[in-house]
Symmetry: C5
C-alpha cells in the first residue's frame, strides 16, 4: 500500500513516479506512440492508400469500451476491498478470541489463555504465508513442538492450525471451565476464521474469467492503434499528444485493474499484509498484558507491505 503524503502538491501529483502505473504500460505506450508518429509524418497515408478513418467509429467504439472498463474496474476493486474486509475481520476475530479466553472462564488460567491466543497469532502468520508465498514464517515461538510438527506436515498450514485452535479452546469446555453455550460462541469465532481462510483462498484462486480480459485487452489495443488514423485529419500534428493522453488513460485503467485484482501480492498497490499481521500481534499481546510490545511496521519509501 502506498502512503499518500498530505498535503499534496500539484507538481508532485503530476510528476511523481511513485504509485504510477507507467512502468507496467511503458512498452505498449511506446508502441502506440511510434505508430502515431509515423501516421502523423505520413499524413495518414499507408503506402499509396489514404486511410479514410474518421473520428466517428471511435466514438461508437468508445462507448462499450468505457462501459467495459468501468465494469472491470468495479470488479477488480471489489476483489481488493473484499480482501481488505477479510483481513479487517481477521483482526476483529483475533481480538474476540483473546477477549473470550480472558473473560469467559470464571478463573482464567493465564498460561492456558496465552497458549490459545498464540495459536491464533500463528494462524495469522500462516495465512499470510499461504497467500503471499515466499519464505514461511517460523512459528516455533508460538506453538508447542508436537503441534508445530503436525502443522508443518499439512498441505494447508492455516487449516491445520484451525483444528489446533479448536482443540485448545474445547479443552476449556471439557474441563468444565466454560458452559457449552459460551463454548458455542467461541466455536462461532473459529468458524469465522475458517470463513476468512476460505474467502482469501477463493479470491486468490479464482481470477476474473480470462476471456473477459482477453476481449478487453484486445479492444483497447486495437482502439489505440487505429486512433491516429482517425485523428490525423482533424487534429493534425497534435495527433501523437492526443493519442498518448488517451492511451495512458485506457492502458492505465487496464493495468491498475490487473494490479489490484489479486490484492494479496506484494505489489505497491496491494494490501499491506505484513503491517496488518504486526498490528494483530500488537493487539493480542497488549490484551495478554505483555510488554514491551513490538513496534508497528513503518512504510519504506512510502510503501507499506
Amino acid at each position: 500500500m502506498i502512503i499518500r503524503s498530505r498535503p499534496q502538491r500539484l507538481l508532485t501529483m503530476l510528476l511523481s513516479n511513485k504509485g504510477s502505473v507507467l512502468k507496467s504500460i511503458r512498452g505498449r505506450l511506446a508502441l502506440v506512440l511510434l505508430v502515431a508518429l509515423l501516421v502523423t509524418l505520413g499524413g495518414g497515408w499507408l503506402y499509396h492508400y489514404k486511410v479514410t478513418l474518421t473520428f466517428s467509429p471511435f466514438l461508437l467504439m468508445g462507448l462499450p469500451l468505457a462501459i467495459f472498463l468501468g465494469f472491470r474496474n468495479s470488479v477488480s476493486y471489489d476483489r481488493f476491498w473484499e480482501g481488505r474486509n477479510l483481513w479487517g475481520e481477521l483482526l476483529i476475530v483475533s481480538r474476540n478470541l483473546a477477549r473470550q479466553a480472558l473473560s469467559l472462564p470464571p478463573a482464567v488460567d493465564q498460561a492456558q489463555a496465552k497458549g490459545q491466543v498464540y495459536r491464533v497469532l500463528a494462524f495469522v502468520y500462516a495465512l499470510k504465508d499461504h497467500l503471499r508465498g515466499g519464505a514461511k514464517t517460523d512459528l516455533s515461538a508460538l506453538l508447542p513442538a508436537e503441534e508445530l510438527a503436525a502443522v508443518e506436515a499439512s498441505p494447508n498450514r492455516p487449516n491445520a492450525l484451525l483444528l489446533g485452535i479448536a482443540k485448545s479452546y474445547a479443552a476449556l469446555s471439557h474441563q468444565g471451565q466454560i458452559a457449552p453455550d459460551l463454548m458455542a460462541r467461541i466455536d462461532d469465532q473459529i468458524t469465522r476464521l475458517s470463513y476468512i481462510l476460505g474467502g482469501c483462498e477463493r479470491i486468490k484462486s479464482t481470477p476474473i474469467p480470462y476471456s473477459y480480459l482477453l476481449l478487453l485487452h484486445r479492444t483497447v489495443f486495437v482502439y489505440c492503434l487505429l486512433l491516429p488514423f482517425g485523428l490525423i485529419d482533424t487534429v493534425g500534428y497534435l495527433t501523437p499528444v492526443v493519442v498518448l493522453v488517451l492511451a495512458y488513460t485506457f492502458f492505465g485503467l487496464d493495468a491498475l485493474g490487473d494490479e489490484i485484482e489479486d490484492p494479496f501480492d506484494a505489489d505497491p498497490n496491494d494490501l499491506p499484509l505484513d503491517a496488518i499481521s504486526r498490528n494483530i500481534e500488537i493487539n493480542l499481546k497488549a490484551l495478554l498484558g505483555e510488554s514491551p510490545l513490538p513496534a508497528p511496521l513503518e512504510p519504506k519509501d512510502r510503501v507499506l507491505l
Copy 2:
C-alpha cells in the same frame, strides 16, 4: 477455468485462440462481414436506391445498447461470482464439519468421525453431479451400503445425503457425547450446506429472463447489420474493418455473458468444479490424518475443469 500464463506477452494476447469467444460468434461475424463487404463494393447502393443512413442514428442507438450490455454483463458476472462463492463456502463448511467432529466431543471416536466426514465428502461429489449432469460419481467408498441405496433411490441425491449427515452427527448428541448447544452449532453448518445446495439449484434453474436476451440479441444484430450503411460514406473502403472490430466487441460481450451465465457447465470459462471437489477431498482427508493424500487436479491444455 482457463489458467492465465504470466508474464503475458503482447503477441500471445492478440493472437491466442484459447479463451477467445471467437468460436461461438464465428457465424454471426462472418455474416456481418459479408454484408459489410457487399455494402462497400456497392458504395451503399441497394439496387437503385442510395441508402441514406449516416453515423448519427448509431450513436443514438449505441447509448442504450452500451448500457444494456453493461447491465447484462454485470448480471452474468454476479451469477458466476455467486456460484463461486457458494462453492467456496462448500469448502469452508466441509472443513468446519470435520473440525467440529474432531474437536467438540471429549473423546473422539476416530471411526465415527471418519464416517461423518466421508458423508460430507459424498455430498460434495453428489452436488457436483447434480449441477453438471453426466455420469454420476460412485459414492460406494464413502457411504455404508444401506445408506447408499437410499441415496441412489432419491430424486435429489445431495438432499438425501444431508439427512444422512444430520443423522450421523445427531448420534453424537443422542449418545451424550456432545451438549445440545454444540450440536446446535453443527446443525448450523448442515443448514449452511442446505443453503449451498439450494443456492446452486436456484442459479442453475433460473436463467436471466428470456425476453431480456431476446431484446438484446436482436438490437445488437440489427445494429451490426445496418452499421456498414452508416459508415460507408465517411469511412469508405475501411468499412469492413471497422464493422468487424465493433461487431467483435458487441458479439463477444454478448457471447461471454451467455457462457458464464450458467457457471456450473463444463465450458472453458466456467467454474472448475472437479478441481474444487478434489481440493475439498484433500483438505478433509488431511484433517483426518490420512496419507497419502490424493494429488490436486492439474489444468489440461491450460483449462481446469
Copy 3:
C-alpha cells in the same frame, strides 16, 4: 418463466414471437411509426413551417434517458431476483425443517413428523395463493380439520399457518423430545419462513415510486415522437426504419421493466411459482420416504408457470 431452447438458431431468435415484448408495446410502436411516416412524406414540414430539429438535441436527451433506463432496469431486475431468492430460500428452509424433524429427536415419531412437514407444505401453497391471487389451493389433505378452519378464517392464511407450524414443533420440546437449544434452531427456521413471507409481501405491495415511472414513460414517449423530425434531414426516407428500431429498444426495455417488476404475477417472464411449489412438495415427500412421488411440472408451450 420462458424455457429457452438450446441450441438457439439465428432465425428463431430474430423472428420468434414467444417471449418478445412486442405484444405489449404494439400500440405505442404503431403510433410512433405513423408519425415517422407522415414526417418522412412531408419532408419535415408541419403545414407551412419547416421543423428545424436536428440530431443534436436527441444526443443530449439520449444520455440521461439511457442512464435512467439503466437504473430502472436494475431496480426491476433486483426485485425479480430478490423474489427468486426468497422462493429459493423457501425450498431450503422447507427441507431444513423436514430434516430437523427427522434427525433431531432421539426417537422420531413418523406420524408426528409427517404432520409437521405437511404443515410446512401447506404454508408453501398458501403463500403462492397469497401472492398470485386467484383460486385458493385446497389444504384439507395437509392439515387437521380444526386447524384448517382457523387458517381459513384468518385474513392472512400463511401467517396463521406459521403459528400452527410453531406449535406443532414446540410440542416436541414440551414433550421433552428435544432440548431447548435444538428447539431454538427450529425456531430460527420458522423465523426464516416469516422473513420469506414478509419479504414477498413487501415486494408485492411496494411498487417502484410512481413518479419515477411517469417521468420515464413521458420522456421516452416525447423522445420517440420528436425523433423523426430530427432525423429526416440526414437520414431521409430511412427515417421510419431508424425510428422503429430505436423505439423498439426504448419501449421494449420499458415494457420489460414493467413485466418483471412484480415477479409473482402469472406473466410469461415471471417466476414459475407453481413449478417451484411442486418441486418443494416432491422434495419434502421424498424426505418422508413417501412413494410414488408427484411428477415435476412441465412447461406448456415453452412457458413454465
Copy 4:
C-alpha cells in the same frame, strides 16, 4: 405512496398531474423557459454580442451530469428502499414476537401474551410518530398506566418501549415458563426491533452530504440556463421546446431524488407508514384471535399515507 391505476392509458400517463413532480419544479422551469424565449427572439444576441456557444460544450458537460444524476438517483432510491425494508422487517419481527409468545411456553397465559403483543404494537405506533413528527398516537389502550408514564417521559419513546417489551418477555423466563435458550431467541427479535429503530433514525438524521447536492443543483441549473444559446443556431425557433423537454427531465430527476431521499415524510411518493402500521395491528390482533379486526387503510385520491 401513489397507487397506480391499471391498466394504464396512454393519455392518462401523458397528462396526469397526480404523482408528477411538476409542482415542485414549476418555478425553475418557468425561469429557464423565459430565458429560452428571450434567446430565441433575440437570435442568440446579448445586446450587441453574438453568443458563440455551440452544441459541443453541452455534450461534454452532459456526460458527467448524467453520471452524477444517475449516482444521486441510486443513492436516493437506496435510502427509500432501505426504509421500506426496515418497515417490512418491523411487520415480520412483530409477527415473530407474537408467534413466540403464543407457542413457546408450555402453557400460554392469554392475558400475559396479550400484554406482550400490545407493547410491540405500541412500539410500532411510537416509531411512526418518532419518524413522522406531528401529533403523537395515544398509547393508553396498549400499555399499563405506570409504564405509559415512563414511556411518555422519555426523550425517545420507542427506545423506552423496547425496555418495557424486554422486561415483559423476561418475566416468562424468570417465572421458569420458558428455557433460557428460547428466551435468547426472543431477545434476538427484540434486538432486531432495536436495529429497526436505529436504522430508521440513521436514515432520518443523515441526509446525502449537502455539498453533493449543491454541486449537482448548480451544474444542472447552469446547464439549463446556457442551453438555449447553444441550440439557437441549429434548432432555431424550436429552441424553447427542446430546452423545456430537457429541463423537465433534469429538474424532474433532481426533484424526485429530493422527494424520496427522506422516505418517512408524508409526501405522496414516500412510504405509507400509516397503512403499514394498521396492517401490523391487523396481523397481531388476528394472531391473538381478537375480533372484529380493524379495517385496512384505503388510499385517498389514489394516495396512501
Copy 5:
C-alpha cells in the same frame, strides 16, 4: 455535517459558500482559467503554431473520465455510508447492552448495571478519539480508577475497554445471575462492538489505492488544461466561461470524493461524531433513569461536528 436549511431558495443555492467545495479547488480553477484566457486572447496560437485541437478528442476522453469519476464517487460515498452505518450500529448496540443489563437478570443491581453501561459509554468516547485524533476525552467519570489506568496504558484504548466491558458482564454469569445462554447473547453484542471498532479502523487505515487517484487527478488536470485549445475555434470568446463551468464540475466532484473518503475527520461534510456520541450518552442515561439528561449538540454556523 452541514445542516440544510429548508425551504431552500434558488439564490441561496447558487451563491452560498457554505458547503461548497470552492475553497479546496480554488487554486486549480484559477490556473485553468488563466490558461483559458491566454488561449482565448491568442486565438489558439502558441507562438507561431496554430494548435489544431478540436472538440472530438475531448468527447473521446470525456467518456472514460466520466465513468471513472462515477466509480470514484461511488467508492467514496460507500466509505462514507459504511462509516455512518457503523456509528448507527454503535448507538443500537449500546442501547441493546443497556437493555440487557436492565432486563435479563431476575434482580437487577442498579449500581452494577450503571457500571456496565458507563463502560459502554466510555467505549463510545474512546472510539471517537481513536478515529478523530486530537485531545482525548477524560474517561475518569465513567470508569473505576484501576481500570482507567489499564485503559490509558493500552496502545488501543477502545479495544482495552472491550475487555473491561466483557469482564463486567461476565461477572453476572459467574455470580449465577444470568444463564449462560443469555450471557451468550450479551457476548454477541460485545462482539458487534468489536466489529464496529475494527470496521472503523479499516476505513480509517485503508484509503482508495493511491494509483487510482493519481491516474484520475492527472487525467482530469490534463483534460481541463487542454480544453481551451479544443473549444476556441467553435466557442470563441466564451471559451473561458465554458472551461470554468466544466472544470468546476470535474474538480468539484474530485474534491468532494477526497473529502468524504475519510468520513471520520472533522471536515464540514464528514460525520458528526461529537453529536452522535452525545446522543448515545443521552439514550443510555435515559435508560438508566438518570436526570437531568445532557442536552443534544446544536449545529454551529449550520455545521454539526
